[in-house]
């Protein structure tokens, strides 16, 4: 089974190819949008490449859930509600929801999408398989 370091190295390589960034920029804590400049179409590209590089299948919305803030009961006054946080915990066990819960502004949702989150996701997938 692949070690965490091996998975990270492959995730790093995937992001270097998908986003045209240097490998030293792809740190564990780097966020995809703010630090690595990912745009919406890049998320699809990243999913395609991860599937190919790791030989896994990633159903749509599993790694990067869509429309998290669309449900009215999940958002109150620009912040994600407890109900919303619970749903996010269930949908995204690979993301660091606890840190996000400290300041659950809707605009902070994209900061959940880190390199670390992808590594967690792939690790869970490979272990489950």
């Amino acid at each position: 089974m692949a070690s965490r370091d091996e998975i990270f190295a492959k995730v790093q390589e995937t992001l270097v190819d998908a986003l045209g960034v240097d490998d030293d920029e792809v740190t564990e804590d780097a966020t995809l949008v703010d630090d690595l400049g990912a745009e919406s179409i890049d998320f699809l590209d990243i999913v395609f490449r991860l599937e190919k590089n790791f030989g896994i299948k990633i159903p749509r919305g599993e790694l990067f859930p869509e429309n998290l803030a669309a449900d009215a009961s999940f958002v109150d006054d620009g912040k994600v509600t407890e109900e919303g946080l619970a749903t996010m915990r269930a949908k995204m066990p690979h993301a660091d929801i606890d840190s996000f819960a400290d300041d659950p502004k809707v605009e902070n949702i994209q900061s959940l999408f880190t390199v670390n989150m992808i590594t967690n996701f792939v690790e869970n997938k490979l272990n489950a398989g």
Partner: protein, 159 residues
């Protein structure tokens, strides 16, 4: 001017690869500005031709049921350039084809000389998609009009 950046297909193997030719001509208006006294085929239009070659290759896999949109060019390298009189051969190899879209690797050659190579990613769009109206027509890799390219050359030599 019509948005045709390939002249015809010379080889086509469904789901695998396609080879198209683009003859660069001094009759193309833009070559007189790109550049004055030094006419070369713009790299952006070479990418367009490579995307049309690859996009039709991908579209054909699904019998052109989806609209194929050029989504992203993750990598492109220009090694050389093409001038009027050159026949550019674009060879697209299908690397990925799935419900959401697909990808191709494409090279551009003049004779044996490698002029450019690129990786191109496409997404599928269907009329029922909510974002359909928001998409600029120019992003479409092909319309039914462009598909006429598949028929070019059949009449000329009688085959």
């Amino acid at each position: 001017m019509r948005w045709f950046w390939i002249d015809r297909f010379v080889e086509f193997e469904s789901g695998k690869y396609a080879k198209a030719v683009k003859n660069v001509s001094l009759a193309e208006e833009h070559l007189h500005d790109h550049f004055p006294g030094f006419a070369i085929m713009p790299g952006s239009l070479m990418i367009e031709g490579m995307a049309q070659t690859g996009g039709i290759l991908l579209g054909e896999v699904n019998n052109f049921e989806h609209i194929v949109i050029l989504a992203k060019v993750p990598i492109v390298t220009f090694h050389s350039w093409a001038v009027p009189g050159d026949s550019l051969i674009y060879t697209a190899t299908l690397t990925d084809s799935r419900a959401e879209g697909g990808g191709v690797d494409v090279t551009a050659h003049v004779g044996d000389r490698l002029v450019a190579e690129a990786e191109i990613m496409f997404v599928h769009l269907d009329q029922k998609d909510s974002q359909f109206g928001a998409i600029d027509q120019k992003n479409f890799v092909f319309s039914m009009n462009l598909l006429g390219i598949l028929d070019v050359g059949q009449a000329g030599d009688g085959t």
